[in-house]
Symmetry: C2
Amino acid sequence: MARWEPNARGRLEEAAFELFAEHGFEQVTVAEIAGRAGLTERTFYRHFADKREVLFPDANPLVTGLAEALERAPEAPHPIATVAAVLEDAGGFFADRHAYSRRRNAVIAANAELREREAVKLALMADTLAGGLRARGVPDPAASLAAEAGIAVFKVAHARWVADPEPRDLRELMRDAMRQLKAVTAEA
Amino acid sequence: MARWEPNARGRLEEAAFELFAEHGFEQVTVAEIAGRAGLTERTFYRHFADKREVLFPDANPLVTGLAEALERAPEAPHPIATVAAVLEDAGGFFADRHAYSRRRNAVIAANAELREREAVKLALMADTLAGGLRARGVPDPAASLAAEAGIAVFKVAHARWVADPEPRDLRELMRDAMRQLKAVTAEA
DNA sequence: ACGGTTGATGGCAGGCACTGACATCAGGGT
DNA sequence: ACCCTGATGTCAGTGCCTGCCATCAACCGT
């Protein structure tokens, strides 16, 4: 018999999500979250660096997934092809999470601090991408720009994916966004 | 005779900057900042929404400057040309601030919370740009992507500008980044 | 079987960011 | 002379977050 109920971290995530959805992020205290999960505030901070982080449990797996996808990606003559391959890979991460992503996005969109944290996660993805491209020999202004372009594609496609009540294919939306980005930058 | 010393806000900015540069953002309390400026903590919060905001006094002028530049921008057949014109305009904002920007950037780079806030300011610029493009009739996925691409160019160029001890021309760096972005996305 | 170690948790005290409510008081207008 | 405005001060309070120590089941080596 275990000394404690299992999956404390998961229980905290779930409790936080429910309370945020019902009352809003600011109206919920960390002590309330911990209480609903049958734990104490102190323990919450052993699992999450701060109150916001409980809403971003997937960020680290996603970033490490990007890094791995960068290593798996086939040799490509042009960095943008590598970026496209990595995005294709990342799209699978969200395959079965459309409903969950929509609810989560509603919570985040309602609060400035949470939008702030989301912006950081995107910047982290961009840095990871750029670093991986440099490791593959892409010189620096190009590597950063290709990475930023890729994140722009991801950001726009993800926003459309989340805005649509129907669960479309995120990868399809990313391919479309990539085409549109190429069209936009090719002009003039 | 004035009842208070003038320019309380400016004094707070200056005091905060000096203390952050010397001791680091986290090691400085708001009460210390206010004390050096000859004011109280409560008054600090009447001038700035939070402790970080004192380091971003130019963000709002910059964003409204973007919005105005969008209205001034000449009719252009392609959104990316409008974006380029707006960036050209924004470049003037930084003309005489190279040394200051470098010191400020060192403070921000040293702290995660401040980098977080900077990411938000960039996202705000992107939203402003996208909204302006939509107001000019650019349809939506293209408007968002052109705006994100523009911010990517700004971000990369600004990083290079700040990294260089010599005060190069930011606009030149942005034009170069734009060329490289076009080259990168045109490949494949 | 015994004892030491480990690791997740609880309890507590405290610092600091931030906020609301009220007081103060020079200057400017009437 | 009077009131009003507006920037500031004062104070109390909430909540985020951290450091430190205690607890105690499970595990491990002997």
